[in-house]
């Protein structure tokens, strides 16, 4: 019972969603948005699970003085600060438990939560994201090597598109006559993006789509149940 009832539930919900696509009549037409709304609410409760896991893990490391425990303490403190600030004075236009905190905003220039967001969270996030600029360079250096036909194709198209995207491409082949304009590097890059690239991308989409349709079908029918734990 503990096992089969969840599977039956998944089946019923799945079938209702499928039906609702083809039945425009009430109540079916509202079902999907209702379920999506429920999904958000359930996930909203569930986020606490993660936070508790996070606190427990960090507390554990600190209590047992595991290596680097000081940093985990810093993490826990920043978690607590951000949470308390958010709950007490709210974020942006939303007031918190203590109202809008106009006094503290006047002193800080923003709500404490927003101040931390702006000056700590944002730069951390943006800088981590910007590491990609370095990694894309090191990956290109290492991987774009003439080896086999496949890796050559990878490298050559990458080089053409890299050149074609900036003014360098225009400078290099701008002198080509009109009749050869196809070979002008920016044009060539556009051609690659538009045809062979999109052909392969779509092929990936189509086959992965089939995989997703098949997996979904197996889930609805209760054949695929590993998400509940175990295989069988």
């Amino acid at each position: 019972m503990k096992r089969s009832l969840p599977l039956i539930l998944a089946f019923i919900v799945g079938v209702i969603v499928l039906l609702s696509e083809f039945i425009p009549h009430r109540p079916f037409n509202q079902i999907v948005s209702t379920l999506e709304n429920w999904f958000m609410i359930i996930a909203g409760f569930a986020i606490l699970l993660g936070q508790i896991s996070l606190i427990r893990m960090n507390a554990n490391k600190i209590a047992n003085r595991l290596p680097d425990w000081q940093y985990h303490l810093a993490g826990l403190v920043s978690f607590a600060l951000m949470l308390i600030f958010g709950l007490l004075w709210g974020m942006q236009e939303t007031p918190g438990l203590l109202g809008d905190g106009s006094g503290i905003s006047a002193w800080l220039g923003a709500k404490p939560f927003d101040y931390l967001f702006e000056n700590a969270y944002m730069p951390l996030s943006a800088t981590l994201f910007s590491l990609l600029a370095f990694f894309i360079a090191s990956a290109a250096y290492r991987a774009f090597i003439i080896r086999s036909l496949e890796s050559n194709l990878l490298m050559i198209t990458a080089v053409i598109v890299i050149i074609g995207r900036t003014s360098i491409g225009t400078m290099l082949t701008g002198w080509l006559p009109e009749s050869l304009s196809f070979w002008h590097i920016p044009n060539l890059a556009d051609f690659i993006m538009e045809y062979p690239n999109s052909a392969a991308q779509r092929a990936i989409l189509i086959s992965a789509g089939l995989g997703i349709v098949g997996s979904s079908l197996r889930i609805i029918l209760g054949i695929e149940r590993s998400y509940l734990g175990g295989d069988k």
């Binding site: 600029a133 370095f134 894309i136 360079a137 090191s138 290109a140 250096y141 290492r142 774009f144 090597i145 003439i146 080896r147 490298m155 080089v159 890299i162 050149i163 995207r165 900036t166 003014s167 360098i168 225009t170 701008g174």
Partner: protein, 274 residues
């Protein structure tokens, strides 16, 4: 000489960092081929007579500032060069600050331009398309005052401006909805005011079809590259050009890395064969 993989990576990172930072500090000003889309925008502003009043709408927030702010600055500067008077509006709440920043920047080149006479910031209004529709009937009703709380009728440059029809051109710098499309659908299609503008490189392909025979959009600046083209047209070595320089250098550098990687691989293969 062989370097460890760790050292190699560190060299790559350092060189890239310097290569991107240098052109930002010491701009080069590489000129690019100007696309037709940019040229159309330029000609529209260039050919508008003096003393006409125009609208630049700031329909974005800081997340797309890198691309759109240089466009705003360049367009305002161009309007100032041609002695046109600029109204700033915003369909996005954060657009008001973006407009203030853009004016501050351009005023540093043209200190004699005055608020109320040469430019005004009317601020943000909620509602998107409906608001534009209402501006078509009466600007004053939508904006009883500017963002400094000066009443509409007390602003000298707005004395003869009543509705959208009195505006020479509208430029929307747009990173989503509401934005350039809404301006086009109402101001251009209903009131026949030329609408132009700019958007991010990612969304540009979706708007290019509107730059057609009917001039639904009067040209379009798509992304940083177009912004740098525009700067070169008005002869300003501005932020978009320096950023584009940094881009070009970084691209070149990556090509150099690929070449070095191949030379290294070729050598080690040869070494193994021997």
């Amino acid at each position: 000489m062989t370097l460890s993989a760790v050292m190699e990576r560190r060299i790559i990172y350092t060189v890239l960092l310097i290569a991107v930072a240098l052109p930002l500090i010491f701009p080069i000003g590489w000129t690019t081929e100007v696309s037709e889309y940019t040229n159309i925008v330029y000609r529209l502003i260039e050919e508008t007579p003096e003393d006409k009043v125009v609208i630049v709408s700031f329909d974005y927030d800081p997340s797309t500032m890198t691309e759109l702010q240089p466009m705003a600055e360049a367009m305002i500067e161009h309007a100032f060069i041609k002695n046109q008077k600029v109204i700033a509006t915003a369909l996005w709440p954060m657009g008001v600050q973006m407009a203030e920043q853009a004016f501050d920047k351009v005023l540093s080149y043209y200190p004699d331009k005055q608020r109320g006479i040469d430019y005004v910031n009317l601020g943000y209004k909620v509602g998107g398309m409906v608001t534009i529709q209402a501006m078509g009937r009466s600007l004053k009703e939508v904006y009883p005052s500017d963002n400094q709380n000066t009443a509409f009728e007390d602003i000298p440059m707005l004395q003869n401006i009543h509705r959208l029809k009195d505006i020479a051109w509208i430029s929307s710098l747009s990173s989503g909805v509401p934005g350039i499309k809404e301006w086009m659908m109402v101001a251009r299609d209903n009131y026949q005011v030329p609408v132009t503008g700019g958007c991010t490189a990612i969304s540009a392909p979706g708007f290019f079809p509107y730059v057609n025979e009917q001039r639904q959009l009067y040209g379009l600046l798509g992304g940083l590259k177009a912004a740098s083209e525009y700067e070169s047209l008005i002869g300003r070595l501005g932020p978009a050009t320096t950023k584009m320089d940094a881009q070009s250098i970084a691209h070149l550098l990556i090509l150099v890395f690929i070449a070095i990687g191949n030379i290294k691989a070729y050598r080690s293969r040869k070494g193994r064969q021997q």
